[in-house]
Symmetry: C2
């Protein structure tokens, strides 16, 4: 296991102030999945009546905890009383033994919370291919005291190779009632020997049904967690869970498209996007945060496919690391996305500076201004690919020698 990296140069100044969420308590513990002294367990208790929804990795291998969450949420129709998260062991690719270990850990955690295992959710992050040693968790649980959530500590307990804890929150209104949202996340690419990447847990005191939570979460994940990429590798354990404790007594709402949810939806969107971008800011070896905008595609899905190809092109990412406005590589990436584009309309812009326009190098191309812009820590790349109305925005980071070091030289 490599020593923790230094804090990312793209890290936020400080951990944000997050609202307290009525009906949510937490306990931090150490099961000892890491040799060095650090918390690696997070137990969350949710008030009775809490509803939850999740989105999970599409990786076909998956993991015991993600399989468990999908089944539990289906079986209980989204009734959730708690969450158990461990760092240091992903419990992925571990077969039936991994499933059994996950279940035993949740039974012990549920007992502590006075809840049946099937109303407990689980998330694991860490080494792939090692069965979760649930005994370590079972023996740690009695030493863990539930209390009002200290968000920075909760966020720190789920870190693996993250260089800073990640949190975001918001206050909003549902039909005149104040509600709060608080979320934490971990992630920074994948890491040796093989860490599972991204976890996020978001809590609100609003009273919302599981189907509504699921609809909102799915929709807002598209433009947040599904709009960031560090290295294109997608882990076996990724999941985003949204819990609503119902302590804020909002009037019953039957439908996710109800206008009274507009403010909540916008707030949730901000929280998820904030957490997602913090993960890119902690991208392994990252020195620059890049937002890629695609305009003029045949539709939004096509625009997103082009944006993703640009964001994941090693040649684009290394050029950004070299502070080179290498628009030729961006044109190449647009061309290899296998999406319909109008060659003669292709334009590439860095900030407000046009590098290419109308399918050729731009007349106003200004090398000096361009290289000044490229020295920035946060970049905006905008491409036009045709006359369509399809748009997308994605975030990525640069590809540096440090990334190769972290992922290739960790033995030395």
């Amino acid at each position: 296991m490599k020593p923790d990296s230094n804090v990312s140069p793209l890290a936020p100044e400080a951990f944000p102030q997050l609202p307290e969420i009525a009906g949510v308590e937490a306990a931090i513990g150490r099961a000892g999945f890491y040799k060095h002294e650090r918390p690696d367990l997070l137990l969350i208790r949710c008030a009775p009546g809490t509803r939850a929804a999740g989105v999970f990795t599409t990786n076909a291998v998956g993991s015991a905890p993600t399989d468990w969450c999908k089944q539990a949420l289906a079986a209980t129709r989204g009734n959730a009383r708690g969450l158990l998260v461990n760092a240091g062991c992903a419990n992925s690719f571990t077969g039936p033994a991994g499933d059994a270990a996950c279940k035993r850990a949740l039974e012990a955690a549920g007992e502590k919370l006075g809840a049946p295992a099937r109303e407990m959710l689980a998330a694991s992050t860490g080494v792939i291919g090692v069965v979760l040693d649930d005994a370590k968790i079972v023996s740690a649980l009695p030493r863990m005291d539930l209390a009002p959530v200290r968000w920075p500590d909760a966020a720190a307990a789920i870190m693996t190779t993250d260089t800073f804890p990640k949190g975001a929150g918001a206050n909003c209104m549902i039909d005149g009632v104040n509600v709060s949202i608080a979320g934490i996340a971990k992630g920074s690419g994948m890491i040796a020997p093989n860490m599972a990447t991204m976890l996020a847990f978001v809590f609100t005191d609003a009273a919302l049904s599981a189907p509504i939570l699921k609809t909102l979460l799915k929709a807002e994940t598209e433009t947040s967690f599904n709009a960031v990429t560090v290295d294109g590798d997608r882990s076996t354990n990724d999941c985003v869970l949204l819990f609503a404790t119902g302590q804020a007594k909002v009037p019953p709402i039957a439908d996710a498209s109800d206008e009274r949810l507009a403010d909540f939806r916008a707030a949730l969107s901000r929280v998820l996007a904030d957490l997602a971008i913090q993960i890119v800011r902690d991208g392994e070896g990252a020195t620059k945060l890049v937002a890629v905008n695609v305009e003029g595609a045949v539709n939004d899905a096509s625009a997103k496919a082009i944006a993703r190809t640009i964001c994941e092109s090693p040649l684009v990412k290394t050029a950004v690391a070299g502070e080179d406005a290498n628009w030729g590589r961006i044109v190449m990436a647009i061309g290899r996305a296998d999406e319909p584009v109008k060659k003669e309309m292709i334009a590439v812009r860095f900030g407000d500076l046009y590098a290419a326009r109308d399918g050729m190098v731009s007349a106003e191309y200004d090398e000096a201004a361009m290289s000044t812009y490229m020295k920035r820590q946060e970049l905006e790349i905008t491409v036009t690919v045709g006359p369509g109305i399809g748009r997308a925005r994605m975030y990525t980071c640069d590809l540096t020698k440090r990334y190769v070091e972290i992922n290739g030289d960790y033995r030395s």
Copy 2:
């Protein structure tokens, strides 16, 4: 422009002995697309009656020379009298001005060969977005003397950032008649400011029709040039051209599936695969050549998609660079290929050493033996993903700090 790199550690001992191809002559020249002293022009004359076929990049942006070749081959039904190749300028993303420059250069070259421009083929490799300066070519042509092909010189003239010239040849029989095949190629990833990647030109003295050449070339490209990947980035100028001069009087053959072509087809396949693997051996920063085999997929296309995901995963490629048998990352890559797999049947083998088997870490996993194997320069990774009959084999190289250096730090 960065100085030439040192020769790749994976380079072959020496340039191979290639057969002479009756009906093919070449001239090397210098148009001056590079500041430093080096040949950057290759002119090939083919005997009257030569037939040609090509496969071209699927990059939607393309380039003037690839557009020209597609149109010319269609218009002449594969009649080709010559080929003009320049290094240093890709003439891609250059609009109508680039098309006109390409045509003028071919008119001048055709005049020298006594052939109409439409029977001339063109290939350019180098900077994207700069219109070809055909005047440089026109003034260089008179100084170029046609002579029997010196293959190492021809291969060297089309290099950009390649660290060694690439050639492969074979002799075979068609219906009792001896025929020869000789091919050259260039490629080593893409490079700053933005080089187009891969070119290959293959010549035979066999008398074969253009449709037959096209069928054979398309089929054999699938398992050669379309089965290698350095960084997943696909250039705007890639092309493979196959010329048959007809000097070896083989009996007329009407159909590509004619059994009398079996030996030729096998020889062509060997030549293309040899050239393709040499390109991976020259992959930017490469220190290891990796063959990835996928077995048990639902079909060959699915197997190839999985193989490609493994070959292009930055985490797999950096682990190989770190000489780590990181099977967890390979399992992750299998899972994110979005192809049908049977989790409980997944196996990962390095050479003959099993790391994972039946969806779990392998019982016979031997750390010591494994790390000895990973020190090799050439690796075989074989994965089983299910009970199917789909198979694929792809080649890639490792991802090293040198790759980032070449593609990111070239300014320093």
